[in-house]
């Protein structure tokens, strides 16, 4: 695939009337948006509104109550709150493993983008929280997948690292990638549109309040 991601010119991520549920109760209803190549969408909304659930549903980790998510198979690289790193493996071993899982082998580009070369032989368990986060974001680059679905990607990153991450997203968009992120800080990415999911809060959820937490 190389640096030019994906091959279909019409490749988009289209979400139509998606209704999602957490713990069996609907949290967001009728969410619709479309994402084309080179576009980014930032999902905003207060805590507990269902941002994570929305991203997990789009990534295919949980079923929706209704509506459709259409994109080509195996195009999404998902990154969650947790880093998904193995403390007893080195930075290189962690990245190489994910590269191989996604059928890739080159990790030097990912190491360079997130300035991890000096840490390459350190065990992931000995990294600081911010360094772990950078390693976890570097994983996105080795997957070579065009659609990034990121849940709070900037947690525990300092200002310099946030800029590093924003640059990585912009270069990803420039090579024809897409990004869907839930984040509260301003990344300064001019291509990014904002989707405030507060407008889609499910009516059932409004009447029952926060009782869905009991089912978690």
């Amino acid at each position: 695939m190389g640096r030019e991601l994906g091959n279909a010119n019409f490749m988009t991520l289209t979400v139509t009337k998606l209704t999602i549920a957490r713990g069996g109760l609907p949290v967001l209803a009728d969410v619709s948006f479309a994402l084309k190549r080179g576009q980014a969408l930032i999902v905003r909304g207060p805590n507990g509104v269902g941002k994570t659930t929305l991203l997990r549903t789009i990534a295919g980790l949980q079923p929706s109550l209704g509506g459709t998510v259409s994109c080509e198979q195996d195009q999404i690289a998902y990154a969650a709150h947790s880093d998904g790193l193995k403390a007893m493996l080195s930075v290189t071993e962690n990245l190489t493993f994910w590269a191989q899982m996604f059928g890739q082998s080159d990790i030097s580009h990912a190491l360079a983008t997130f300035e991890l070369e000096n840490l390459a032989d350190r065990l992931a368990g000995t990294l600081s929280a911010g360094q772990k986060r950078r390693l976890s974001l570097a994983r996105l680059l080795v997957t070579e997948r065009p659609i990034w679905v990121l849940d709070e990607p900037t947690v525990s990153l300092d200002i310099a690292s946030v800029a590093m991450f924003a640059a990585a997203v912009v270069s990803h968009l420039n090579t024809g990638g897409m990004a869907l992120m839930a984040t509260h800080i301003d990344l300064g990415i001019k291509e990014a549109a904002v989707l405030d999911v507060t407008a889609f809060i499910a009516r059932d959820n409004l009447t029952t309040g926060a009782s869905d937490e009991a089912f978690l």
Binding site: A80, D83, M88, L89, W98, M101
Partner: protein, 218 residues
């Protein structure tokens, strides 16, 4: 697939990976049985196949709850579920890695520990063969149990209660092969049934495991 297998084995042998946990447990059980039962060599020889099989089964069970729980806690399972490899294959590879790091060492250690249990000479080959055929089934069934309890913190008790009944057929026919082998009687029926159980679980269990894990990842 190879990457996942190598990673799991590498993690198992590194510090805190749990390699040797099952083996050490097996060793301890078999060493203390003669102390508890007494020095009656005839009696020891009689119970040897059964005790060796119980030891191996419990040693397997001991390490099963680490199989998916650690990957669940640090978020790796979510990422593996979105990787191009189907979840069925992922779980089969993880079961294989578990067998290589837990089951295989037990198979190798069993004849040495058989000496401590005064196992009759003709029984060693059958003991090793029965464990070689039976322990893969223990790993695959254990993976199913681990997938069922993946979302539960400290789910070890529930896992044991769920998995032990599923282990019973393997135990019955595995120990039967080892016992008949030690006595020098015909083993063909029980060895075919043992091999059948292993083949069926290896072929079918990963599908069940993948389904319950998908439910647990929600």
């Amino acid at each position: 697939m190879k990457a996942l297998l190598i990673r799991d084995i590498r993690l198992a042998v590194r510090a805190g990976g749990g390699f040797g946990l099952g083996l050490a447990f097996f060793l301890i059980v078999i060493v203390i049985v003669p102390f508890a039962v007494g020095a009656d060599t005839g009696l020891l020889a009689k119970i040897a196949p059964g005790v060796l099989w119980i030891g191996a089964l419990l040693a397997c069970l001991l390490s099963i709850d680490r199989l998916l729980a650690l990957d669940f806690e640090d978020g790796t399972l979510d990422l593996l579920a979105t990787a191009p490899m189907p979840l069925e294959a992922t779980l089969s590879v993880k079961a294989l890695a578990h067998w290589i790091t837990t089951g295989l060492p037990l198979v190798i250690a069993a004849p040495i520990l058989g000496v401590l249990m005064n196992l009759p000479t003709q029984g060693y080959g059958w003991l090793v063969l029965s464990l070689l055929l039976g322990t893969p089934a223990l790993s695959v069934i254990g993976t199913f149990g681990a997938a069922l309890t993946a979302g539960i913190k400290r789910g070890g008790l529930l896992l044991s209660l769920l998995v032990l009944p599923l282990y019973v057929p393997t135990l019955i026919f595995g120990a039967e092969v080892a016992r008949r082998g030690a006595e020098g009687t015909d083993v063909s029926t029980s060895i075919l049934l043992l091999a059948g159980i292993s083949a069926a679980t290896i072929a079918l269990m990963p599908f069940a495991s993948a389904v319950v894990l998908k439910v647990n990842l929600r």
